[in-house]
């Protein structure tokens, strides 16, 4: 996803001379081609996150489309006030590209995990938040962000994610139906870096003739309530899966949507348990220990669908 995202920007540079990338001393090798082709459109701002974000605001005021790239905690947490006051309050169309969504940086430790960033984003009106699942959505997110007149936050996993979409994504702001289910009662909604677990769960359920509808919700702010409510209409069970605290992520959003629309489906929210992560494991192992690995998704869907063994 990461390389696809940057390559999409690189392509856009052929037509546009207003694009500028700022990195916070992050992204080994990611910008090599960009720096080679457009050396005057890139600056490594160093380990100075507050200055970087405010600087981006100033540069955007002079007419540049500024892209700020960093690991998510250093992009959003360290300089939340700069993002709030300088980018969002001033309505500047800066693109904040965060890498390492969820626990994809495991086992780097809690400082490098991004399990509450969408909660922060929801406190920032007008900040568009996109959490793509694969290179196809990452490409659409990059195109959207480049044309958007608002600030945009794109949360990406680390790198090397497989392709799940079968066609190009034309509207990243809409929920994406990834697989149609045979089992018409249950839908899985998810976003971002937990995609491979969800899709593996889908394959297992399909083999058992219990395949649910699978929907990626890449754009979490604004949250397209009518479109999502429309897709879920008629379903009995909704399982949300995310590599994020579910209380302030997709799970929380769906709970609010359910309450506000008086939907009669049952919601099961799967996410990172609310707490700090001290286990030392790689991403797959950590997902398993936190209850969001494939087997748990399969089990949840089977339980709510009445197939529990």
């Amino acid at each position: 996803m990461r390389n696809t995202f940057i390559n999409t920007i690189l392509e856009a540079c052929k037509e546009r001379d207003d694009i500028f990338i700022l990195s916070g001393d992050a992204g080994l090798g990611v910008f090599d081609r960009f720096k080679e082709e457009y050396p005057d459109r890139f600056r490594n701002m160093g380990a100075a996150e507050q200055n970087t974000v405010s600087f981006a605001a100033g540069l955007a005021m002079t007419g540049y489309k500024v892209i700020v790239y960093n690991i998510i905690p250093f992009l959003l947490y360290r300089c939340y006030e700069q993002v709030r006051n300088d980018i969002c309050c001033q309505g500047l169309p800066v693109v904040l590209v965060g890498i390492g969504s969820g626990i994809t940086y495991a086992p780097q430790g809690m400082s490098h995990y991004s399990v509450e960033d969408l909660g922060l984003v929801q406190t920032l009106p007008d900040l568009v938040a996109i959490s793509p699942i694969d290179p196809c959505e990452a490409r659409a997110a990059a195109s959207y962000a480049l044309d958007c007149h608002k600030p945009v936050y794109v949360r990406l996993a680390k790198n090397g994610e497989p392709l799940f979409h079968q066609h190009e994504v034309t509207n990243i702001a809409a929920p994406q139906i990834i697989r149609n289910g045979e089992h018409a009662d249950t839908a899985i909604l998810f976003h971002g870096s937990v995609a491979n677990e969800v899709m593996a769960a889908y394959e297992t359920l399909k083999d058992r003739s219990r395949a649910p509808l699978v929907v990626s919700v890449p754009t979490l702010q604004p949250f397209d309530v009518p479109a999502i409510a429309g897709i879920l209409s008629g379903f009995k069970n909704v399982v949300s899966v995310e590599e994020h605290y579910s209380n302030c992520g997709l799970g929380g959003m769906l709970a609010r949507l359910k309450a506000e629309t008086c939907a009669d489906w049952q919601l099961t929210s799967m996410g990172i348990p609310y707490g700090y992560i001290h286990d030392v494991r790689k991403t797959a192992g950590l997902r398993a220990s936190l209850g969001i690995a494939t087997e748990y998704i399969v089990r949840s869907v089977e339980a709510v669908s009445g197939f529990a063994s």
Binding site: M45, T52, A60, T62, N85, C89
Partner: protein
Amino acid sequence: MASFSRRIRREIIEMAYCSGGPHVGSALSCADILATLYGAELRLDPWHDRDIFILSKAHASISLYAALAARGIMPPEMLATYCQEGGLLPAHLDRQTGYGVECSAGSLGHGFSIGLGMAFGFKRQRSPRRVFIVIGDGECQEGSVWEGALFAPRQGLDNVTVIMDYNNLQAYGRPAEICSFEPIAPKWEAFGWHVCRADGHDHGSLLDALHEESRGKPKIIIARTTKGKGVSFMENELVWHYYIVTQEHRAKALEEIG
């Protein structure tokens, strides 16, 4: 320019009195700096190619509003709406105000870096536009200021001039007693800035510093000032960071300012 300063000071007192708001001492502290910039230094015509001024110590916003009105950029009648119900001017700066408020600010250490970003953009566009930023001395306790201070010289931002309004009095005491940043000039010098000193209440001294050649470096003018300058009972008095101007204060202050 003396009359420009006087007008700014009178408006500061009026706005502070009518709003019942604080930060009068901070606003009076930089009144002469703003008078020098808006009265003599800033190139504002044509407007679309103007120099940029950023008041990073935005709690002194009334000094900027007064300067913009005096310079004919902001309609003078707007000043009466400062901090009033349904008014147009908030206590801290909001870019949506328009009329020459170039950047929202109010949290210390932000306007400085925004100014650097703008200066970088102008450089890249080969534009002759310049950026002037006023920061407070207390503001130099912010880490973000030093992040920007490290970065700017490497980019050769000689189109940036920072003026440090050094009144040696922050909200609750002397900087040296709270979190000392001295020696301040060698610090900026060591970071690669061209450092000048000026009397922040002497227009001539400020202009000399503004015109000093910086040889490709960003420039900082350390301007010695007095908090509450121009009103004897406010000068160098800690309480006038937050005290409210009463009718009696107002009358006495306006009499002194002339």
